[in-house]
Amino acid sequence: MDITQATSKVAKGARVRRLVWGEQSAFYPLIFMVPYLVFFVVFMLWPIFYGLYVSLTKWDLLTPPQFVGLKNYIDVLRDDLFWRSFRNTVLFVALNAPLSIVIPLGLALLVNGPILGRTIFRSAFISPIMISVSTVGILWTWFYNPNFGLINYYLGKLGLPGQNWLSQAGWAMVAIVITTVWWTTGWNLVLFLAGLQDIPEELYEAARIDGAGNWALFQYITLPGLRPTLLFVTVTTVIASFRVFGQVFVMTGGGPFDSTRTLVQHIYETGFRYFRMGEASAVAWLLFCVVAVFTLLQFRVISERQ
């Protein structure tokens, strides 16, 4: 081997070594990601596709699955109870998502400024998210109790009539939305606070010098500046609203009169109470499609003028 061949061999070796061990190599990041990737693939990716397979079968966990093609999807779309669950879930999203975005945004604007007790207020608004879903359900079941509950008690003091919050078909959904907003405000509040702090202070100063009022500041500086945060918050809030289950199940069990029965509850009962796994998977995939459509729409609308 002559000197040029030898050098190029050494150089190639060095290149390979740089590729693998060097600073720009993908090796180290990959190594650190592997533990997470294992969990991700095993517990999230594979079940998703396995679920798609199951949705094409009839399976009750005890006997081997039988392939039935799209029959489950057809049965589901013909099921009155599925449509009722779907309508209830959409209603919940329509009520919960806007409130869960607007209220944390408002609160974030309030506690962002240098007000007195800012930290206390922030902690107070954020802390409910640390309570587990069942606890929230039980707690608020007691708040809503028509006889001993705090809510009717204070309503009475204000001279307003107490309601049968959880046992009246109309109020039950409202009550659940209130509970959910109270519980999850903290998430979006934190995100909005972070987003607000990313907006350069100079923009506000400049606008104020130009004579912009508070509303104009909000419209022309805050909102555009928050666009990425808003997109993220909206998408995740809508997705989470579609997946509502825990607190509803604990508080009303889907009642009264199936008026608060949600899609995930339908999946749970179909799969784990009546052991129709194929059908439950089909409902889950239908839910996924619905959520995917909404998410794409939101990306389209919100990040349009990026």
Binding site: D75, I138, T141, N147, M251, G254
Partner: protein
Amino acid sequence: MDDLRELIEQLSSGRISRREFIRKAFMLGLSASAIGSILAACGGGAGSTPTAGTSGGAASSPSPSPSGSPKSSASAPPPTPTPYKPQSFGSKSAKVKIRYWTILSSVDGIVMNDLVRKFTEENPDIAVESLQGLTDFIQKMQAAAISGTAPDVALVRHTYIGPFALKNVLSELQTTELEEAGIKAEDYYPEVWKFTQFEGKQYTVPLDMHCHAMLYNKKILQDNNVSVPTTLDEWTAVVEKVTKDGIIGYQTFALGAGAQEYLTWYWYGIHKQFGGEMLSEDGTKAAFNTPEGIEAVKWMKDIQQKGNPKNAAITDLARTGKVATWPDGPWISTLYFNPEKSPAAKDIDVVPLPQHDPKHKAVWGQSHQLALPRQQSQDQARREASLRFIEWITRHSVDWAKAGQIPAHNSARQEALQSNDRYLMKLRAWAKQLPYLKFMPIHPAILEIMPRIAANVEGAILGRWSVEQGLKQAENEVNQILARSGQ
């Protein structure tokens, strides 16, 4: 911890109100969520004050089995603790240990555990780990069958047999092993022995039967100068007359429990009185949306609106003598007939349920059956022990009758119905209806069908939708379920 235990006992026996419980529990240092979960778990008598609600309160669980505490007499051994955790009976050195699961909660579970303890005392070579009042029983049984952790003996309602057998949750009982254990068909009430057979195989041994009867407050009826009703029309008339001045005339069984099986039980009996059927002969279609079916639910709605227009929960009101009539099962005996638990006990009595047509009597009936769930690896010794256990329990079910169940075992039933025990004498009213008990069919999808009927009938009774619409919805949903399960 002991203070808390005692507090819970007092709450579930109704000796203290929920408000008192909350107050004392706070003083003991419990957090609000802990108190909330205890109250939800106890499910004790729906509310201690009348709830002026449009449905019977957001009942987290109905009280078909009442939340009573053990009745302790001076000479009896200390009462078995309120069942919810597994209890072990028998000596540690016993050769065989079997596991036993039931759906029974509160009083039922306590009496059952007493029986289990007696069994282990008389059969020292067998130890039993008993889990009473298992929540989510249906799911847990199926999950246990899948994972191979099923108990050796399980107590099921007869309606569970079809679904469980089809899913291979139960193991078949061979004639030879039944003979060896001394379990014979002729020892049991034939109506419920029928349920032990499914698709030509035997899966269970009957333990008991129960049904509805009408409880009533003698004093209220006397004060209003009305006699005890024997027909549905008389019942409505009585209720109309007595419902005033804070007295509730009537309360539908399990109203407010929502989409569960309990209201369907009561509905089934009344529906049968009007001559209706639940499912078609071949079990593929709903058959209850008929003119008779509509009439039946209309009667249920009418008497509910006349007797309890505000749909207040009645457990505490009945105990204190404020409810005139109501249908219930015999499991409430130790609650309503016990002066220690019910101040109005001496006024409360029971008669067979009024009938729509005395020539075509009907009343809802159900049977508890003992089964051997399928095991992953069959242990012969445990299986024999389990069958001995079943045979012993059914033979001694006269003690089980004290929890308010009619024994299926013939000699135990005769003994129970001839006894002079205070509660067993009341049981006779329920037992009088044995000749015309109507049991729900053993259909593979029955467990899914019952909650749908309950949800829609409840909506009709509470005025959420009309009777016709409610039955139509129920029929659609049931037909969809049947169409899906029929492959």
